[in-house]
Structures are given as structure tokens and as C-alpha cells.
Amino acid sequence: MLKKFLLLTILSVLAFGFWLSPDFKEIAAGVSIFLFGMLSLEQGFRAFTGGVLERLLLKTTNKLWKSLSFGVISTTLMQSSSLVSIIAISFLSAGLITLTAGVGIIFGANLGTTTGAWLLAAFGLKVDIAAYAMPMLVFGVILIFQKGRTIKGTGYILAGLGFLFLGIHYMKEGFDAFRETIDLSRFAVGGYPGVFLFVLIGLIATVVMQSSHATLVLIITALAAKQVTYENALALAIGANVGTTISAIIGAIGSNVNGRRLAGAHLIFNLVTALVAIGLIYRLTEAVDQISIWLGIGKHDYTLKLAVFHSLFNALGIVLMLPCLKPMVRMLERLLRPRVRSAAQPHFLHDAAFELPDTAIQAVRQETLHLYDNASEVIANGLGLPLDEILNGKPLEKVVSKIRSPIHFDVDENYNENVKGLYGEIVEFISRAQSNMTPEQSDELFSLRAAGRDIVEAIKDTKHLHKNMSRYLRSEELAIRSEYDKLRLNLAGVLRALDEVRKQGHESTAILSLDELKGQMKQYDWDLNIRMNQWVRDERITAPVTISLMNDSRYAYQVTKNLVKMGGVLFSTAERPLREAEQSVSLDERELAEALGTPNNEKGGTNDEHP
């Protein structure tokens, strides 16, 4: 309700302003064109995500200075601290970077955004910027109509720059014309009351426009047209710096606790920097004068001096806040605690992950790993073995022989509680995340969805296995009991081996060693057939028991096959092309049988062909 009222008020004030002054209309149109240019620029840069940007971000955030540099450089290149903040929040919520790295990026982005003021003051106001805008718009729009993703992205960037330049031109023209009718500098307020008032105006303007860049352009063009005093312009720049945190806060709403912590760090940094800048504004102005003399900036070139001030107080903020970074991160971690989530609830699927295709894929990967964690509990319990006992490194023979009590575990109930709903959430997230993805990225999502389905299939086969296992583990016939123990032992071995492979996901040979598990289970199945033939001939077991054992061996093989398939997709941490190469050399049923010298049965029913 408040939002609607606010929107209506803004629209009414603007309409009244347009009716009152055509020059104001020109300035407002300039701001709108500028903001549209920023949107177009963002859209263009998004076309290049899903590769270069993500790889760069992952490689350049292992040290604080690297995160800082990434923030400075990426914001300088993209001219949008909001986009960099959103990318950082998105990466953080998908678990790709640490909170410290995210904070480093945000600090860097604050310094990087000051290059906009330099570009505008040094270049934008001194040349006929509209002359550059026109060809950019024409070429940009032509490229937007092309099919290729990269070429389309380039078109959006060109058109975006064109609109930015055109917006600046209209703002400049508007203020120049405005000067002839109204002198806004008459409303200048001196001293600290003026500082506080204009900080507030800068803050509100940035919150409304959601772009400190746009506010800064407005300030610089107004300053160049002498519609605002230098002192008040400095205060407006401070206000714009605080107001820019609104994008990060909005971006963090759909994010997890880490995203909110990062938005908190952004707010703290900008508030502290603003307070220091307000407190030291007159000292900083003197420092700006000194630096301007060193840089050869004219005494009355206030637009460039504003750019110096903007960079100076942001750099000062970084110098002040860097030593406090770790305590600040600890404080945020203490204050903003993650909500306690049950195992059945998704932990990584947040709206913030939709911002970039690669973060959406990473979120799905993490969540599917979480699904596997839940599923492996169900599978282990279905075998009557606690998962921690399987994974703790003890000899599995001892673990299996120790636990022989009847299995009181409802596989179906646990599947419905901890797996089914979570898998449903993953599938729904995938269907929502697919728009705006390259075919390769969509393929990766499909393979992750298939990995989830393999996990579910493995549970279903465990459920079938569980029924007979509960019965025959108490059989009076030692051979039967021992055969079911072997099945349990093999499957426990599969779970343990998968856990070990998961820990060394960066190693291609570890991922490919998963084929061995299938091989071992196939070998076991073959040996079991030989043993059973002998037992049937010796009349040691009845026909129904033979059939049960044959079916259960097949179920165990299916569980292994599905889990191995899932492990190949889910556990590899290598880059996408390397993962694809690993998967391409993984052996199928026929190749596996050929390598082991066992008969092949493509349909997976390995017992149908008796030795």
C-alpha cells in the first residue's frame, strides 16, 4: 500500500514538474534514458556470464587483495556497482565464494564505481557526447536483432552505452536551459545543516533511481551548469554512496543468510564511510585541493574535483574498514544466523541464484548433493546399517556382521519424508531456471536432474531389496544369511567408495574409478549365479529362495548402477568440458562386460543369463 502511494506521489510530482518546466522534463528524460542505458548494459553483460565472468570470479577470490581488485576492475569495466553486488550475492548464496571474498568484492566495487565520475567529468562534459551516442545506438540495435548470444550481448552493451551518452547529453542540455529560467544554486545551504540536508537528498534520489551512477551523473551535470554548489555536490555524492546499498539489500531479500550478511556488510561499509566523510568533509576538501594541484586540475574545475573527492572518501573507507573486515564478518555471522532447516527442506535453492545461469546450476548441484546425503541415509538404513558406521573407516565386514538385528525401518515413509519433496523442489527450480541459458547450460541442468532421478531409483530398488533382506537375514540356512550379508557388504562398500570419490572430485581417475564399483557388483552377480546353480543341484535351497536371491542381486546391481551414474555427474568438481570428457570414457554395460569377461545383459537383469 505504502509502495503504491509512494509511486503515485512520485508520478504526480514529476507530472506537475513537467507541466511547470519543459527544461525539467528534459532533465528527467535524460535520467530515464540514462537508467534505460544502464539496464541495457546489464542485459548485455549478462550475455557474457556463464563463462568468463564466473571463471574469473572463482579464480580471483582466494585472497582478499584479489577480491578487492576484482571488485574495482569489474565495476570499472561494467560501470555498475549494482550488477557486481548482485553477482557477488548470487555467487555467495550458491556457495561459490566465501563471505570474506564477497565483502572484498563489495569494497572494491565501491572504489570502482568512482571511475564513472572521472569518466564523466574528464570526458563526458567536454566533448559532444551525443555525437558518439547516435552510431552506438544504430549499431547496437542492429546487433540486438542478430541471433548469436555473444553478438546480441555486444549489441545490448553498445546500445546501453549509446543510451547512457544520450541521457547525459539531455541532462546537460536540460540543466543549461534550466539555468536561464531558475537558479537552483540559490537554494544552497551552507555549513553542516547543508551537508546533512544534501546527503539526505542524494540518498533519496539514489533510492528512487536505484543507481548511484545516475545520481552522480545528475550531480556532475548540475555542478557543471552551476545549479548546485561544490560543497552541496560533495554532500550529495556522500548521500548517493549510502543510497546505492538499496540494490544490494533488494538483491539479498531473495537470497540466503550469506547474501543478507553481504548486504549487511555493504550497508556498514557505506554508512561508516559516509559518517567519516561527513565528519571530515572540510579536511577532505582541503586534501582534494592538494591532490588536484598535484594532478594539474584547475582550481575551478569543480566537476573533476568532485571525482577526486568521490575516489578519496571511498579509498579512505577501504583503508579504515579493511582491518575491521574479519571482526565485521564474525559479527555478521553472529547476528544473522541461518534459519534451522530440516533435512527435507532445500538448503541452496534461492531466488538469488536465478540471477546468473551458472549460480543456478551450482545451486542445483549443491541441492542434489544434499538430496544424495538424505538418500544415502535411507539406503544405509534400508540395509539395516547406520550410515556413520559405514563411512567411519572401520572394516565393513565387522560392521555388517555386528548388526544382524531385524530391520525396523520404513523405506517408503523415509523416502516420502526426506527425498521425494526435496527432489520435487529441485525439479521445479530447474524448470524455472532454464530460461536465458545456453544449450550447454541447459544440458548440464538436465544431467543434474537425471542424477536426482538416479538417486530416487536407487532408493526404490533398495525398498524392494529391503523386503526380502529383513526376512532372509533371519533365515536358518547359513548360506542364505551369508549371501544377504554379502549383498549388504557390497552395497555398504559402494556407499563408502562413493564417499571417498566425492572427497576427491577434482581427480578424473577417481571419478572414473566409479566404473569399478559396477564391475565388482557385476562380478559378484556372476559368481552368485555359479554358487546358486550348485546349491540348487545340491538341493540346499528351494526354488522360491533362489528366485528371491536372484532378484535381490539384480536390485543391488541396479542400486550400484544408479548411484555410480549419479556419482559421475555429481561428484566431479572439474570444469564442464573436462566433466564431459570424463563421462564420455565411462564404460557402459557392454563395455564393462567385455572388459571383465562376463556376459552382457543390456537391460540390467544380470541374472537371466546363467553360467
Partner: protein
């Protein structure tokens, strides 16, 4: 570099299929190299192993690694640049 070579290189750079083919070959070669190294390590391990059951386990591992490497090599052949067929 003559003009024809330059044009060929530019075409290869702009051709996304060609780039993908090269990328696939590069990563496949990397995996094959790793498998070869792994196979050699397993063979050495087998030579030092006296226990029969452990030897059998290692032999299975060698057989599978070998099969994976062979599969990789045949895939590598598939990704080879198609040879130019001269017009008769």
C-alpha cells in the same frame, strides 16, 4: 603468415563447432593422459603385490582403466579434424 592461412585461422576462431571440437579433443587428451598414468601405477602395484585376492582386485582395476583409455582413444579419433577430400 600468408593471407590464406590467416583467413583459415580467422574462420576456425569464428566457427564455434571447430572451437568446440578442439576443446573436446584437448580435455579428452587430458583424461587419457591421466588414465595412462593411473594404469602404469596400477601395473607397478600389481608387480609388488603377493596377496592373491588383492592381485585379482588390482587386475580388475587395470582391465577397466585400460578399457576406459581405449574408449577415450577411439573418441579422440572421432574428434579428429575431418581430412580434406580433394576433388577428382
Amino acid at each position: 603468415m600468408n593471407i590464406r592461412k590467416l583467413a583459415e585461422r580467422t574462420r576456425a576462431f569464428l566457427d564455434s563447432d571447430e572451437r568446440k571440437r578442439k576443446e573436446k579433443r584437448k580435455f579428452l587428451k587430458h583424461v587419457i593422459k591421466k588414465l595412462k598414468k593411473h594404469e602404469k601405477t596400477l601395473i607397478k602395484k600389481l608387480e609388488c603385490e603377493a596377496d592373491d585376492s588383492k592381485r585379482a582386485e588390482i587386475e580388475v582395476k587395470i582391465a577397466l582403466t585400460h578399457a576406459q583409455r581405449k574408449k577415450g582413444l577411439s573418441k579422440l579419433e572421432e574428434f579428429k579434424k575431418p581430412s580434406k577430400v580433394k576433388a577428382p
